[in-house]
């Protein structure tokens, strides 16, 4: 087994009486693609929030690359190489696609207390940004304002921004939500390319995509991981079938 990149231990978060995360423990090896599935309201987004730093856990601890990050602010985690995409697309809508990705590059190129040079003419920002756009197939749309991009294109742009940050780990929160079948297929192919190079936590409702991509799958129900294992194990797990796949089986 490769080196452990992410270690989560006993993560617990309550919102009033609702337990959104109930003693969650999780270990990810470097290069692993780990999918997290579960019914709506199971606490998947809360888990992503805690990993990225937007939600503070009540107890438990998160270690990234051997370093405790439980109390680090969002931007510090991002600088350490923990990038996330958002479930609801949250881009900079009055910027062009290229500007969006260039910002992501800029975030990881030292501080930005540079007041004078025109950032839109800096090759060290523009070139990696153009490369990331090309990677997701958006090269032709570089100069288009985000407001004028289609929903699917915005989802692709989300991925490009995450990639441009050259993260060590990617938290993908329902990246395929609202995508057409063609765009979904392209994204699945893209994620397959990335496998091994970047460690990924994938939250996704598209069960076919999950089983096609994941090295391991954890099933989250009511804030608790009820099963964790390779796709074959999860498919065969009686508890999972009852709690989750049973409901979703009609979709297949």
């Amino acid at each position: 087994m490769a080196d452990v990149l992410l270690e989560v231990e006993g993560l617990t978060k309550r919102f009033g009486g609702v337990v959104a995360a109930d003693d969650i423990s999780l270990t990810l090896s470097a290069g692993e693609l780990h999918a997290i599935i579960g019914p709506n309201g199971a606490g998947k987004s809360t888990l992503i929030g805690q990993l990225s730093g937007e939600v503070t856990p009540d107890s438990g601890c998160i270690r990234f690359d051997g370093r405790e990050i439980t109390n680090l602010p969002v931007y510090r985690r991002s600088q350490l190489g923990l990038a996330r995409s958002f479930q609801v697309t949250t881009l900079f809508s009055d910027f062009t696609a290229l500007d969006n990705v260039a910002l992501s590059v800029q975030a990881h190129g030292g501080h930005s207390f540079r007041f004078w040079r025109n950032a839109r003419r800096e090759a060290e920002l523009r070139e990696p940004a153009e490369a990331a756009l090309a990677q997701v197939g958006l090269a032709q749309r570089a100069a288009t304002l985000v407001a004028d991009l289609s929903h699917g294109e915005r989802r692709q742009l989300e991925i490009a921004m995450a990639l441009a940050a050259q993260p060590r780990m990617l938290l993908l929160d329902e990246p395929m939500a609202g995508m057409g079948p063609e765009e979904s297929a392209r994204l699945v192919a893209k994620l397959r390319d990335l496998k091994g190079a970047i460690t990924v936590i994938l939250i996704e409702h598209d069960i076919d995509a999950v089983f096609a991509l994941a090295d391991r799958i954890s099933v989250l129900v009511y804030g608790r991981i009820i099963a964790s294992g390779d796709p074959g194990t999860i498919r065969a797990d009686a508890g999972v079938r009852q709690a989750y796949l049973g409901e979703g089986a009609t979709d297949d």
Binding site: Y75, S78, F92, F95, A107, F115, W116, R117, A119
Partner: protein, 328 residues
């Protein structure tokens, strides 16, 4: 070529022709440049007084546009910086320090320091709360000025000598003073233009658009917004020093909250997130105010609805009306 002319010609070459926006900017700049000549030939000394005020308040509006337009930080206490800059000049003059080389840096530094304190507290909040905190601080400074008995309190403080700059420039020569103000305005436009398009400016605009996302991609947004807030405060402090020299007088009234409102109106009227919008806004607002107040004592009855129409129908202000609304 002057920086601004270079900027204009670059904008022109990018648009392949003189766009309506560029034409408007040139017209505004030319109008400003020609006012003293007009005043000299027509003998209309008041025109020079009015336009000096317009140019100075345009600097203040420009600084507000930097944080409000580009940074999304709606400061409702911007007149406080005018007051602080003005009082720095007034107080030093009264205490016998007449050199502009001391007065002006103190004015700028005091305004920047005040911005640092206000920003450090207010930038932790959002929306209405941010507006209320900036307003509360400005009100505090306003009442502090009223309490300064030694410096005139409520009645204000007369400045008997304008800032002295040796033989370099004589501020009591109204034409020289006007051109100094205009030069500082154009330099400020250029500085804002550079800042907005720099890496720093990208962070500021990104944080306006989506601060949560900015943090997620790795930007500690607070310190950048605070730095921007301080830059704007310093720039407005300079405008305050100019204003004190222009009126030879400072009083708490220059910090009244309605003055802060006027500055917001100028920015919105001219066009937020544009380089010349604050200039156009200051020009339109003050000329309108002056002209209407000569016609009727109910000038606000006309200005109010006019602003309402602008706010509702013209997204992008006058700049947007003539140059077309641009996004980005």
């Amino acid at each position: 070529m002057s920086p601004v002319a270079k900027g204009l010609s670059k904008a022109a070459s990018e648009g392949a022709a003189i766009t309506p926006r560029v034409a408007l900017n040139i017209a505004v700049t030319a109008t400003f440049a020609l006012v003293p000549i007009y005043a000299a030939f027509s003998g209309d000394a008041f025109a020079l007084t009015l336009f000096t005020r317009i140019v100075i308040l345009a600097i203040a509006a420009l600084s507000l546009n930097l944080i409000m337009g580009f940074g999304g930080m709606v400061s409702f206490g911007h007149a406080a910086y005018l007051g602080i800059g003005g009082y720095a000049v007034g107080i030093l003059a009264k205490e016998g320090i007449g050199s502009g080389f001391v007065q002006w840096p103190v004015a700028v530094a005091s305004a920047a320091l005040y911005a640092l304190v206000v920003g450090a507290l207010s930038l932790r909040t959002r929306g209405v709360y941010f507006i209320m905190i900036t307003l509360a601080f400005a009100q505090m400074i306003y009442y502090v000025a009223i309490g300064l008995d030694r410096y005139g309190g409520d009645d204000g403080l007369t400045i008997y000598h304008r800032s002295r700059f040796g033989t370099l420039i004589d501020l009591s020569n109204r034409t020289e003073f006007y051109y100094l103000c205009l030069a500082l305005l154009l330099v400020s436009v250029y500085v804002v233009w550079r800042i907005v398009n720099s890496r720093f400016g990208m962070v500021i605009q990104g944080a306006r658009s989506n601060e949560r996302r900015m943090r997620a991609i790795g930007f500690p947004t607070f310190r950048y917004r605070l730095a921007c807030f301080v830059i704007a405060g310093a720039m407005c402090g300079l405008a305050g020093a100019l204003l004190a020299n222009h009126t030879d007088f400072v009083s708490p009234a220059m910090m009244h909250w309605t003055r802060s409102g006027d500055l917001i109106v100028m920015v919105v009227l001219g066009g937020m997130q544009t380089m010349f919008g604050p200039l156009i806004g200051a020009l339109t607002f003050l000329v309108l105010e002056e002209g209407l107040s000569r016609l009727t004592e109910f000038s606000n009855l006309i200005i109010g609805p006019f602003l309402l129409v602008v706010a509702i129908s013209m997204r992008g202000g006058i700049d947007g009306l003539i140059g077309g609304v641009r996004r980005g």
